[in-house]
């Protein structure tokens, strides 16, 4: 008989087809999600190998990465030169193989990690992989989900399995009621600031604690999304009644008797009392302030009342160089307050923070106001379903009246795919990566919550949202 087990141990062991020795297992993969960038590579490699998909009914494809988000876009429209060809390749491959395919004009279209839980493709206790590092997002509904390379994707296509080295178990406890102006994005940024961008290497991370227990699914998705930003491939929240309520009735969720059986299984998955984690971290959410990054790594983050650090304060030469290089790239000085830094663009979008609850929070800040002169406001809903729901509530009018652009759904300007619109500009962004060049050549990205992005748009500078909300 085994002792108390973690959620991760239960899900992992239920998927082990073969023990390959040395802590490595061949795993059953329940869902493979493809998109036109990495997915088309995996499909091309599969075709070149002469093999056929093993379980095509478990494979899903969506077009999200290079598709244009301009209103009235065409089916192959892209700001990237080879974008249309890539989209057509993904579409043709998915149709030829008979995958579940969500095209550009499908009302279910959206960013892969946003639609995956929306459609019930991601479910508790399923293994789900995608050639995209932010696949960990859907750990927010209790899936064991992680990003893979395109050759791993080819392996999953051909076998519906994947050999993986088993990670260690880590638990992050978010405790207490988040302070005013503090959202899931702030919580996870604070965590990364605390443990570093490499703090999760080799770990599968369970997010727990009172703040997580009371958090709706959309916030959990935001937190899990950023697991990869501290180099944890896997991040998840064990399923509970909030998860089950969220999933009921979704297109690919089980129905009827199958639903009842699934729910019974899901209720058995949470970590047992006394289960052992190799590493634990606790974050006090009551003591946090809104967070914003200043540099070129998500770990380079401060509270909204904070300052750009002095490289001399670093305890080792590597960290000193890192701070110097980042400050130079960001065109900020040591000791400079982050609040008040002028911005050119306010960007709301991405698999991190473009779900309906995110748009509501931003709209609440913007309502009846105008963004500062000279600031470009851009809002890209995370999915077509989110866009339509927002429009039904009139949120699009709030954004437009405030001076924001209102786009079709897609990954858009989270990553620079060849559209130089953000080149040389300073952007406050609800996305997940502030890396050098991530949003464009010499683009300086500051990561923050939708509320902080909206507040900063109004002020034309990085601003504290707490003075703008009740």
């Amino acid at each position: 008989m085994t002792g108390p087990r973690t959620f991760f141990e239960k899900v992992w062991s239920d998927h082990v087809i073969a023990d390959l020795g040395d802590n490595t297992a061949l795993l059953q993969i329940d869902r493979l999600f493809l998109h036109e960038m990495s997915g088309s590579v995996a499909m091309r490699q599969l075709a070149e190998s002469g093999r056929e998909p093993a379980m095509r009914e478990l494979v899903f494809t969506v077009i999200d990465h290079v598709i244009d988000t301009a209103p009235g876009r065409g089916l192959d429209q892209s700001r990237s030169k080879a974008g249309p060809e890539m989209i057509r390749a993904a579409r043709a491959g998915s149709r030829r193989y008979g995958f579940n395919f969500v095209d550009v004009d499908d009302p279910r279209q959206g960013i892969v990690h946003v639609i995956s839980p929306e459609l019930g493709v991601a479910l508790p206790g399923l293994t789900l992989v995608c050639g995209d590092s932010h696949t960990c997002t859907v750990g927010g509904v209790g899936a064991l989900a992680w990003g893979i390379g395109s050759t791993e994707g080819e392996h999953v296509l051909a076998t519906q399995t994947l050999p993986q080295v088993r990670p260690k178990a880590m638990r992050v406890n978010f405790e207490g009621k988040p302070a005013k102006g503090v959202y899931p994005k702030d919580m996870v940024l604070a965590l990364i600031g605390k443990i570093g961008a490499n703090g999760g290497i080799g770990y599968a991370v369970e997010f727990a604690g009172s703040a997580i227990r009371e958090m709706p699914v959309e916030g959990r998705l935001t937190i899990c999304n950023m697991a990869i930003e501290f180099s944890a491939k896997y991040g998840f929240v064990a399923p509970d009644e909030i998860t089950i309520d969220y999933l009921k009735g979704r297109e690919y969720a089980p129905k009827g008797a199958a639903w009842e059986a699934a729910v019974r299984y899901w209720r058995s998955l949470p970590s047992d009392p006394g289960a052992r984690f190799e590493h634990e971290v606790t974050v006090d959410c009551g003591g946090l302030s809104p967070q914003v990054t200043w540099g070129t790594s998500p770990q380079q983050v401060v509270g909204i009342d904070g300052r750009v650090p002095d490289p001399a304060s670093a305890d080792d030469p590597g960290t000193r160089t890192l701070i110097e290089r980042a400050a130079e790239y960001a065109k900020l000085k040591p000791g400079q307050p982050i609040q008040g830094v002028k911005i050119d663009v306010a960007y709301i979008g991405s698999c991190t923070n473009a779900r309906l609850s995110d748009l509501r929070v931003a709209a609440n800040v913007l309502k009846g106001k105008r963004i500062a002169g000279g600031v470009q406001g851009i809002c890209v809903p995370g999915s077509t379903a989110v866009k339509r729901a927002a429009e039904a509530e009139g949120l699009d009018r709030v954004f437009r009246d405030a001076g924001f652009e209102w786009h079709e759904s897609g990954c858009a300007m989270c990553g620079h795919m060849g559209n130089d619109r953000l080149a040389d500009l300073r952007v406050i962004s609800t996305t997940n990566r502030n890396f050098e060049g991530r949003q464009g050549p010499a683009t300086r990205t500051h990561l923050a919550s939708p509320a902080t992005v909206a507040a900063s748009a109004l002020r034309g500078q990085i601003a504290d949202v707490r003075g703008l909300i009740g």
């Binding site: 478990l58 399923l126 051909a158 290497i201 059986a261 060049g437």
Partner: protein
């Protein structure tokens, strides 16, 4: 799959922390319908100026490091995006190994499937190798022996490392991983027979009874 057993080559020290895959190859180079030509995008943001001309200050544009086959880096190398173009670009530009204290997990796995070995050594060891390389103006060769799991510095010092046995064997043999898995067809079938009875919804998305 391309194999790798042992190399002795010029090593380029780039001892920075958190070199992410967006730096290794910016996303705009990924929008293509072939894996060829990715080497041109390697470190493009640093290797070229905004005018597209090579940046003379960037280490890989300077002799002898322009012929480097080994990269030396600080912790969390290859963090961020899962893009397999990162190890592909390294390989197409001539690299066979990256030595660093730790790696982003997805990048680490991708390396083995593209003929590049990610070698984990403590930062003190990486610094010593870099110092020896710099003392010889980059001419001193660094050895990486995957079979023996050992790195040899220009002065002959040896550092042992560990790598996941399955991935190591695959790279040593240049084996086709899918073939290896498909040989377990019977075992996979047995597993699915039992598992689909226990978790039928996992095998039929949207199952209604």
């Amino acid at each position: 799959m391309e194999k790798l057993t042992k190399i002795s080559a010029i090593a380029a020290p780039m001892l920075r922390i958190n070199i992410d895959t967006d730096q290794i190859i910016p996303a705009r180079f990924l929008v293509r319908v072939t894996n060829d030509g990715l080497g041109e995008g390697l470190f493009a943001g640093q290797r070229y100026g905004r005018d597209g001309k090579p940046n003379p200050d960037f280490i890989l544009n300077r002799a002898p490091y322009d012929r480097a086959e080994i990269l030396l880096a600080d912790r969390n190398f290859g963090c961020g995006s899962s893009r397999e173009a990162a190890p592909m670009a390294l390989r197409q530009r001539g690299f066979r190994a990256v030595i660093a204290p730790s790696f982003g997990g997805i990048f680490f796995n991708n390396c083995f499937r593209n003929g590049v070995v990610p070698v984990e050594l403590p930062i003190e060891a990486v610094r010593q190798i870099a110092a020896e390389v710099e003392a010889t103006q980059g001419q001193g060769k660094v050895g990486v022996d995957l079979e023996g799991e050992a790195v040899t510095t220009p002065s002959g010092a040896v550092f042992k490392f560990r790598s996941p046995p399955l991935l190591r064997e695959m790279l040593l043999a240049g084996a086709d991983e899918v073939d290896l898995t498909l040989r377990r067809g019977e075992q996979i079938g047995d597993f699915r027979g039992k598992d689909s009875a226990k978790r039928p919804w996992a095998y039929r998305p949207g199952l209604a009874n």
